[in-house]
Each structure stands twice: as C-alpha cells, then as structure tokens.
C-alpha cells in the first residue's frame, strides 16, 4: 500500500518535474514537492538524474559559429538590416495612434511620395493615341496624278460638250482612256473609303 503510494507519487513528480524546475507551480504545490523530496529519496534521485541527463546533453553537444562568420553576420545585420528597420519604423509610425506631430509628418511624407511617384510614372509612360491610326494607304493618294487625270477628264468633257473636236484630239482622250481614268479614280476612292473611317476623314 505504502509502496503503491510511493510509486504513484513518483509518477506524479515525473510529470510535474518540468514545472517544478521552472518554478511554475503554485506556492503550495512547490512547498509540497520540496517537503516530499526531502522525505523520499526516490524523488530526489529522479530530480538529480533528470538534471544530470540534461547537463550531459548540454555540455556534450554545444556547437558554435565561427568568430569571423559571426562578425560578418552582425555587420550584415546592422548595416543591411538598418535600412529595413528604418522602413519598418517609418511604416509603423504611420499606424501608431496618438497626436504626435512626427506621425502626421510621416503620413504626409508617405502620401507625398506616392503622389510624386504616380505623377512621374504617368508622365513617363506612353499614352494611347485617342485618334485612330490612319492607314498609310491613305497617303498613297498620288494626288497629283489623280488631279491631272481629273483635269484631263474635265477638259475632255468640256471639249466634247463644246463640240471642240480639235481640242478633244489634242488631249488625245479616247473613250478607253476616259474609262480607264474614271475606273482608276473609282478604285482609289473605294480603297480610301475602306481604310479610313468617318471620324478620321
């Protein structure tokens, strides 16, 4: 019976030993275990052996980073990290409540930077042309040649209308020439219509 009791208390201590070592038990519980450890050698053995195991582990397997590597890491941290830290401090300053003037200045500066950046980006990027691009075929108008043909046709018509056959002969306009001229003009006008829209015209 006493032995069962002892086994039970040892098992209980094995479970609570970690909180006992941390001092995280209540005052009364700490006092309970302190008294029992004094009275029960087996509890003292459990406590001492646990400490011994952990000490052996600690001393046997401790590792270290190289001194020079450590110094380099510190330099990288405090120099490289300081920029990150400044940004984080700046941003956390925006979120902080309280009426400090520095917070308002931070906010104004933050918004200002964004506005300026947006303006610069806007000015530097190509804007879409609101006017639809006119096909280069439109400029293949050969206006001079067409004008000449129109003048020829006009003169031919005038000559024909005025019954001035000589003038008509001079211009050497046959009916085929006339048809060809009219046909050419028609073709050009049709192409022009297809490739331009009403707005651009």
């Amino acid at each position: 019976m006493l032995s069962d009791n002892k086994d039970h208390i040892i098992k209980e201590f094995e479970h609570e030993i970690w909180l006992y070592l941390d001092g995280d038990l209540s005052e009364s519980r700490m006092k309970f275990w302190n008294e029992n450890i004094q009275k029960t050698p087996e509890l003292l053995d459990v406590l001492n052996e646990t400490k011994q195991v952990l000490n052996i582990y600690d001393t046997a397997v401790l590792a270290d980073v190289d001194d020079r590597a450590f110094e380099k890491m510190l330099n990288r941290t405090t120099v490289g990290g300081s920029l990150l830290e400044k940004v984080k401090r700046f941003v956390s300053g925006l979120n902080s409540s309280g009426g400090r003037g520095e917070t308002n200045i931070h906010k104004i500066a933050f918004v200002g930077v964004f506005v300026i950046a947006a303006m610069v980006i806007f000015m530097l990027t190509d804007k879409p042309n609101p006017v639809k691009t006119i096909s280069s075929d439109v400029f293949d108008w050969d206006a001079e040649a067409i004008s000449e043909q129109l003048v020829d046709i006009h003169n031919s018509l005038s000559a024909a209308q005025n019954d001035k056959m000589r003038e008509f002969i001079l211009y050497k306009q046959t009916s085929d020439d006339w048809s060809r001229s009219v046909y050419t003009i028609e073709q050009r006008l049709q192409r022009l219509n297809k490739k331009t829209d009403d707005k651009s015209l």
Partner: protein
C-alpha cells in the same frame, strides 16, 4: 550576463547601437546556433537561419517588450525563422551527426575527447529518433531556455502535451546513457 547589463544592452540596441547588439547576442550565440543547427540538419542552412534570425531580431527590437524575457523572445524568433524555412523548403528536421559538428573540446586529453565524441553520437542518435514535435520541445527547452508555458504557446500545443513530449524525450536519452554506463 547580469539582468541589469542585459537591460542596458537591449536599451542601447533599440537605439541602433550595433556594438551593444553584438554584445547582447554574443551571450546567446552558442545556444542559438546549436538550436538552429540541430533543428535544421545542415551547417550551411543553420548559418543562413542564424543570419535571418539576427536580422529579424535587430529589426524587431523596437517592438520588443522588456516585460518579457529576452531569451524567450530571441528563441521564439529563431524557432519561427526555422519553421518558416521548413514550410518553404518542406525539409524534415533531423539532428545532424557529430561528423558535421565542429570539434568543441577546449583542449581535452585524447581519451576524454573520444569519450565525449561517443557520448555526443549517442545523444544525437537518441534525439534523432524523436518525433519532430518532441524534438522541437526538447531543443527549445535545452537551448532556448524557454519555459514550458512559453513552448506550449509557441508550438501551439496544450501544456500537458508539451510536458509529455519533454518527459518522453528525456526518458529516451536517460535510457541510452544508462545503457552506455554514462550515468
């Protein structure tokens, strides 16, 4: 390091004093590096994690609350840094073997060195057989000096579960040390 000196170093570090920060970290350097080395499996990775941890600690100092124990805060950051890295790389943690650890014998006699190396091997083998969660609890306790309540919070496990993990881990290590007549 005394609490007052640590407090002064923390205060100066918060103001951007790099040399104070170096002195502050130096006191935890071996424990911090050992923890990362054992949890991540590889010395190069451990050095990367150590660097990442230092940067997070340095940049997080303005938000550090002096009411909390500095070592607990430091090792919480180290643990989260390691876990973030594992999540990214999906690498299982494995305690590395002594071949990958530097010799740390401080000029002992050769016989002692051999004994120590054998003990190291046994201990690392024992820790290697633990589950990831058991290993995390054990290493955070041994190297991070976190309380079990802090470990429970950090690893998002109930306190009793954490205590069980620790109990099982130490029981395993104790068994091996007994078998080898170390204790």
């Amino acid at each position: 390091m005394g609490k007052l000196l640590e407090y002064q170093l923390i205060s100066r570090s918060k103001q951007g004093d790099a040399s104070a920060f170096g002195a502050l970290i130096k006191d935890y350097r071996k424990q911090l590096f050992t923890y990362l080395l054992k949890i991540c499996n590889n010395r190069t990775t451990a050095e990367d994690l150590f660097q990442d941890t230092l940067i997070r600690v340095w940049s997080g100092l303005p938000n550090y609350n002096e009411q909390n124990k500095f070592s607990s805060w430091l090792f919480s950051i180290a643990h989260n840094t390691a876990m973030d890295s594992f999540r990214r790389k999906k690498v299982r943690s494995r305690v590395i073997h002594t071949d990958e650890l530097p010799e740390f014998t401080d000029g002992m006699n050769p016989q002692k060195e051999v004994e120590l190396k054998e003990t190291k091997d046994m201990l690392l083998d024992a820790v290697n057989t633990l589950s990831d969660k058991q290993k995390q609890v054990f290493l955070l306790r041994q190297h991070g000096e976190l309380s079990f309540k802090e470990i429970a919070e950090l690893t998002e496990q109930p306190l009793n579960t954490v205590l069980s993990h620790m109990h099982y881990s130490v029981k395993k290590i104790r068994k091996i040390l007994r078998e080898q007549n170390v204790i």
